[in-house]
Amino acid sequence: MTTSHEGPRLRQQSQDDPRVMLDIDAGAFEPVPPYPPRTEREAEFYTLGDGEMFLNMGPQHPSTHGVLRIVLKLNGEQVVDLDPVLGYLHRGVEKISENSDYHHIVNQLDPLEYVSALFNEWAYVMAGEKLLDLQVPRRAEYIRVLSSELLRISSHCLFMGWFALDLGGLTPVLWSFIERDEIVEMLGALTGARMLFNYFRFGGVNGDLNHEFMSRLGSWMSRAASHVEANTGLLNENEIFVRRSRGLGVVDRETALRMCMTGPNLRATGVPFDVRRAHPYSVYPELDFDIPTRSEGDSLARYLLRVDEIRQSLRIIDQCLHQMPDGPVMAKIPRKITPRPGRAYAAVESPRGQYAIYMMSDGTDQPFRLRIHDPSFLHLQSVGLLMPGNLVADTMAVMASLDPVMGGVDK
């Protein structure tokens, strides 16, 4: 249980079965690392004050958003300090991409933020297009925006359900998963896969819109607004929900900017920063949508902001459908992609924040370095600032309101 490189200390024979030697620390697991503290912060965290205890919300837990380990230092029920331990889902995506062709990497970047996979591909593909000096056809850009905004709605629906589930409500998850299922089926008809799409390519997208996608989209759009209102109506007016999330995990502007928060977490503190407007890409300059902003900075603001974003995404989808130009969906690219040597940085506005790829190519058909800049990773750094002073029950609520996806955090 304690991760010690000497191995467990076997001292005691088990009472039940004399063939088994028990770890002497069995039952006395303390989430303290077996080496002396390496940094000041570790030393400060792993010394217990008076009346404090460690609680380990381990990698297997019903409501950490994936495999995340949080070591809480509690004083009774109040959280004094918090240490997230990452890396349980580390797959070495950046290293693997260094040995893969540029085509393959699109598929490898999907499982990062698996909830909203197209944004991962989009940043990468944009970075590649900068290095290849490619012009993406307008129809392809519109299809990219359309599918991505659909996925943004789906991701925010998942967030709504998960936030309510971490607060104890069992029903909103299932209702918002109906929305998510319909969108994911739509995108499955378009791209061929329901969750890890592998759809974007350098110079466009993999396939044009087809009849099944358009019919599903049409029938869903006619119900979408009312479904969203119904789902949020269950929670917005709910006294218990509002009382638990108002004033919880308040982030002020300076802290948010200092901790590099982006996306809805930043916009809930009053900073109207959206990558689609600040550093416009694709065809967003031609589309008309607002950037919802709230100024309270608490969990309720983050929740309501994401609901507003769903409505804005519906507007964008509407405009895309009306303004969809004709044309090819893919530019002409060679089979073997060798971008010019150089570096490119491309950022998109994913449902979690600013997601970016920093690509360094050396002229061969495998990138030299692919640095993935993931918003959830940075949001988790700020969790240690938000949590102290709250109770254990709020830990999960704050975590859920920041909407991290562990695939992106651990890469």
Partner: protein
């Protein structure tokens, strides 16, 4: 002797079992019969002299045995109703419409591995589920299910209910402490704080009703509410009802106050280290607690077994089978066959591919169901306690449905909000209720 031992060693294990157990059982039976014959009369006189004791034993056994099917029914109800609220189906494989799933869960829980975690305080760990379950089941003794159908009629019945309800707190704390696990500790402490905080508004909200009724005996309280629906105490103590309902939800550890078992935060709270039948006890105790709290609400505020309306027309059925004479014998022989054929005929005629024996089986089952329904209807009309029991169960399960509804819809309250609510809102409200009732009684000179 060697013949015997050689024959014995040639037997297999089942054979050995048969040759030892059957003579043993036969000897025990004979011995029991002899003992009965010898001491039988003394036991009989003892029992007939102490009828209340016999009644108590029967009532206690009945209550213990009844609690488990009740828990099964409520578990199934909860799974199905929450599923429908979640736009799912819920269990539908195990029995007809999945109704046997709770039974299967009960059996599963019996055959699971039963272990004690290392470092746990074993006697306390083992006794905690027992204490919790007893605290739940003992309250069933005083609830009047129907006129004449109750365990015991204490004249401090209500006080007994609150006292026994507090017993489960001890069990929860025992479970939380003895598990040697910080999650369980947190869960146990939370639950202790919660139950203790909500016991006070729970008790105080009923004091107004006690002043109106003048007695703590639950049977008398229900009898006071007989008459018409307007005699029910909910109309005379609406605030008391509301406070009682909310505080009882917290006492039963139900959503929105279920943070002792908040499975999104502290995995399973105090029951994290429990498995097998020990966890089964906690599980059943919770659902029996839901039943008890609903039953208590119904008893105190909604008239118990009183019907809300009377049948608008008088119905009497006085069958007199003896007057039929020999016709009775003929009817007993002929009616089942005729009804089977009568109910089978439509199925056989209208479905051309149904074999005759299948139609006969269906007819037999339907005629049995009709007979059972007829007997139930006759019992409903003739016996007071059947009507009372039916109304009591209807009202109680309506409240159980409300609890399940709240679980499916509402999120969970935080521990400090929960305590704040109890001490800052429910307690003053129940005191207000108390003062207003007392003042009204003085003014109206009752």
């Amino acid at each position: 002797m060697t013949t015997v031992s050689r024959a014995w060693s040639r037997l297999t294990l089942p054979g050995k079992l048969i040759f030892t157990l059957i003579p043993l059982l036969a000897a025990l039976t004979v011995g029991l019969l002899v003992a009965l014959l010898l001491i039988g009369p003394f036991v009989w006189t003892f029992l007939t002299d102490n009828l209340p004791l016999v009644r108590f034993v029967i009532a206690a056994t009945a209550v213990l045995l009844m609690s488990i099917p009740t828990a099964f029914i409520i578990i199934y109800m909860e799974m199905k109703i929450i599923a429908q609220m979640n736009l799912r189906i819920g269990p539908d494989r195990v029995g007809p419409y999945g109704s046997l799933l709770s039974v299967v869960h009960g059996l599963k829980v019996l055959v699971k591995e039963d272990f004690t975690p290392t470092g746990a305080d074993t006697p306390v760990f083992t006794l905690a589920p027992v204490v919790v379950y007893l605290g739940a089941v003992m309250s069933l003794m005083v609830i009047p299910f129907a006129p004449g159908l109750f365990g015991q009629d204490f004249n401090i019945g209500l006080l007994y209910f609150f006292a026994v309800g507090g017993l489960s707190v001890v069990g929860l704390m025992m479970a939380g402490w003895s598990s040697y696990n910080k999650y369980s500790l947190l869960g146990g402490l939370r639950s202790a704080a919660q139950v203790i905080s909500y016991e006070i508004p729970l008790t105080l909200s009923v004091v107004g009703l006690l002043m109106l009724a003048g007695t703590m005996s639950l049977n008398t309280i229900v009898l006071n509410q007989s008459g018409s629906i307007l005699d029910w105490y909910i109309f005379r103590q609406p605030l008391g009802f509301l406070i009682f309902f909310i505080a009882a939800t917290a006492e039963a550890n139900r959503t929105p106050f279920d943070l002792t078992e908040a499975d999104s935060e502290i995995v399973a709270g105090f029951a994290t280290e429990y498995s097998g039948m020990r966890f089964g006890f906690f599980f059943f105790a919770e659902y029996v607690g839901v039943f008890i709290v609903s039953a208590m609400t119904v008893t105190l505020f909604l008239g118990g077994w009183n019907a809300p309306f009377d049948w608008p027309w008088p119905i009497t059925v006085n069958p007199d089978p003896g007057s039929l004479g020999i016709l009775l014998l003929i009817l007993i022989g002929v009616v089942p066959v005729l009804s089977t054929l009568a109910f089978a005929a439509p199925f056989w005629l209208l479905r051309s591919n149904m074999p005759g024996w299948q139609a006969l089986i269906i007819g037999f089952v339907i005629s049995n169901l009709v007979a059972v329904a007829a007997v139930l209807g006759w019992a409903f009309i003739s016996f007071d306690w059947v009507v009372g029991l039916l109304w009591f169960m209807l009202k109680t399960y309506a409240f159980v449905f409300t609890f399940v509804w709240m679980r499916g819809t509402l999120p969970r309250v935080r521990i400090d909000q929960l305590m704040g609510f109890a001490w800052k809102w429910l307690l003053p409200a129940s005191l207000l209720n108390l003062f207003v009732t007392a003042g009204a009684l003085i003014v109206l000179n009752r």
